[in-house]
């Protein structure tokens, strides 16, 4: 299978905060990892193990202290701020634990925002945003603001926002942590369906057994190092 992401000896060290005298924290150490296009995989591990840090580095939301990250063979760890923004805008989608929708925008406006940033014409982006909401089963709530939606509905809007621009990779950080079992299952089934139908690669960070049951490949991380890999 075609390699989508490659990490070579990636480490992340958080410097101690000046006056407080806090010590350096090594969040990740010498991570080597390859993710193929179309995978549906999870990074598992206890809290503080480095799951979110790894996801942030792959998502270029943070920069590694050492090592290199390649996306489709292109080294992304050395891109400028604006190049990274462009990269995220076109190639990545994010789903966060706390949904992180823009509260002043309606569901459809939230979903179409990436398309707005891409400069897609108004009518086209609205049509694509409504289509994405249709995929996640939220046609009837397109014009509601997030505060009028349930947690599960908000997370589905977040998924629609993550996939509306057809990214190569969706990074989902603890996407089911705030959801009940039924809603979590529905959401995971939905993401699996999107993975299969549209060949979108999904990478989760989670310690939720429901996510780990659904994932086809699981990487176990502990104290900032990959310790085990299991395949479904």
């Amino acid at each position: 299978m075609e390699t989508l992401i490659q990490l070579k000896k990636v480490s992340k060290v958080y410097e101690g905060a000046g006056m407080s005298g806090a010590p350096k924290v090594t969040a990740l150490r010498d991570i080597d990892l390859e993710i193929a296009r179309g995978e549906f995989m999870a990074i598992a591990g206890p809290s503080g193990s480095g799951k979110s840090t790894l996801l942030n580095l792959i998502g270029t939301l943070d920069t590694p202290t050492s090592g290199e990250i390649f996306f489709e063979g292109r080294r992304v760890s050395s891109l400028s701020e604006n190049e990274l923004s462009d990269f995220r805008l076109h190639s990545l989608g994010f789903v966060f634990q706390a949904y992180n929708l823009i509260p002043v925008l309606t569901a459809v406006e939230n979903v179409e925002y990436a398309l707005t940033l891409q400069g897609v014409p108004r009518q086209e982006r609205r049509a694509r945003a409504l289509e994405a909401l249709h995929w996640v089963g939220l046609d009837d709530n397109a014009h509601r603001r997030p505060d009028l939606l349930s947690g599960g509905q908000q997370q589905r809007v977040a998924v629609a926002r993550a996939i509306v621009h057809r990214p190569a990779l969706v990074l989902a950080d603890e996407p089911t942590a705030n959801l009940d079992s039924k809603t979590a299952k529905t959401l995971l089934d939905l993401m699996l369906e999107l993975n299969e139908k549209h060949q979108i690669t999904f990478l989760f960070s989670s310690h939720d057994p429901r996510v780990l049951e659904t994932a086809r490949r699981i990487l176990q991380i502990r104290d900032g190092a990959l310790v085990k890999e299991t395949a479904a």
Binding site: R88, L89, F94, A114, Q118
Partner: protein, 404 residues
């Protein structure tokens, strides 16, 4: 972006309303202050130029003390002939202004004597409109018109004779008897107690200055065109040994008052602008700190630092625009109201000691200044938006997302 910015500013309704209200009140206060100061200045200029200074004056080229010209114009007739051909001039009047003495049976007082052609003077100045008893100079020989305060001090009444003395052209003391035909009352202690108007021809005879004048005072059709008209008159009088002076050259005190008032206005503007700037800065900073996580999300989605910067600046501009619209409305309403009913200020008596001045001010718009204030408010808004905008733009997405 506009939609997001607009909704963002109304996210915390109470805070935004307070900011917009303070901005609107600030702008309205600035407009009101500008209008008030400029109305006072306009009235001062109108009164000063209308009563004595005129819009422009012609004096001998050698004169150094413009308020009390010490030299006579050699050939006033030649000056008058050339002035007659200039279309921008409404009227002009040759005068002799000299310090002298007016004596009654009871007292003698030093005054500024102004010899005028009554018919011409009435077209140039408004002195005749202040007549309180008797009448203004009629053009008959040896008539005098003095202020009510001077009459009280000299203990004279209309119809009485007074003796006028001043230094003649040959250095001797000229003196003559004049009939008091009328009194004026301007409310200004200086004008009512220290000025006396006499018939020009009689005054010239008394001083052996036949046909002479030491200034020719001019009223323009359009006072605002003073610089253009001054240039035209200077060109028309080329070759004659005279100089063309504006009211500002002659009346330094008036220019001083204006400078002082402008300084007060500028200090007031600075204070108001600082308050407005701090208000907006506070609102935008609070709004930014509340939304750090959101900026992290926007950056994660793909918003560039410049885009975040523009978003916050746009929010600042929108707050500024809404505040400016309300401020403009409030300022216009206040100026319009006090332009109609008038604003009574005790200021009139204070300034009135030097120049006749009405205590009721009818405010007028000064759109040039108002638009400058409006632009300044918007610039202040943009500048206030810069610190939070730069901070948000520099934020790392992961830092933003970690923010609780």
């Amino acid at each position: 972006m506009l939609r997001l910015a607009w909704r963002n500013i109304w996210r915390n309704l109470r805070r935004s309303v307070i900011t917009v209200a303070s901005l609107a009140c600030g702008l309205a206060a600035i407009m009101f202050g500008q209008s008030l100061i400029k109305t006072i200045q306009r009235q001062l200029i109108e009164k000063a130029t209308g009563v004595i200074t005129g819009h422009l004056q012609i004096q001998d080229a050698r004169v150094k003390e413009y308020k009390f010209p010490e030299k006579l114009i050699d050939d006033p007739a030649a000056v008058e002939k050339r002035l007659s051909a200039i279309p921008g001039i409404a009227a002009f009047c040759p005068r002799i202004k000299l310090t002298g003495i007016v004596s009654s049976k009871h007292d003698s007082l030093g005054v500024l004597l102004i010899g005028v052609d009554s018919a011409l003077d009435q077209r140039v100045t408004t002195m005749h409109t202040y007549t309180s008893q008797g009448k203004y100079l009629s053009g008959k020989p040896r008539e005098i018109f003095i202020g009510s305060l001077l009459a009280d001090l000299l203990k004279v009444k209309v119809g009485d004779d007074v003796v006028v003395m001043a230094q003649a052209a040959d250095g001797s003391m000229g003196a003559d008897r004049f009939k008091l035909v009328g009194l004026y009352h301007t409310g200004s202690g200086t004008f009512d107690g220290q000025l006396a108007y006499v018939d020009l021809k009689s005054f010239q005879e008394m001083l052996a200055m036949d046909g002479k004048a030491n200034d020719v005072v001019i009223r323009l059709k359009e006072p605002d065109n003073q610089p253009t008209e001054r240039a035209a008159i200077t060109a028309a009088l080329a070759g004659l040994p005279v100089q063309v002076l504006g009211w500002g050259d002659v009346d330094h005190e008036l220019v001083g008052i204006q400078t002082y008032q402008n300084a007060i206005l500028n200090i007031m503007l600075l204070i108001v602008f600082t308050i407005v700037a701090l208000g907006i800065l506070n609102t935008l900073l609070m709004s930014m700190f509340e939304r750090i996580r959101e900026f992290g999300v926007l950056k994660a989605i793909g918003a560039k630092p410049g885009w975040i910067l523009r978003l916050i600046i746009l929010e600042a501009c929108l707050i500024g625009t809404v505040g400016a619209v309300f401020g403009l409305g409030l300022g216009c309403a206040m100026i319009k109201h006090y332009g109609r009913v008038g604003l009574e200020l005790p200021l009139g008596e204070a300034i009135g000691y030097f120049i006749p001045f009405d205590s009721i001010l009818y405010l007028k718009f000064n759109w040039g200044m108002h638009l400058r204030a409006l632009s300044a408010v918007l610039v202040v808004c943009i500048l206030s938006g810069l610190p939070p905008a730069l901070r948000a733009a520099r934020l790392k997405p992961a830092e933003g997302l970690r923010h609780l």
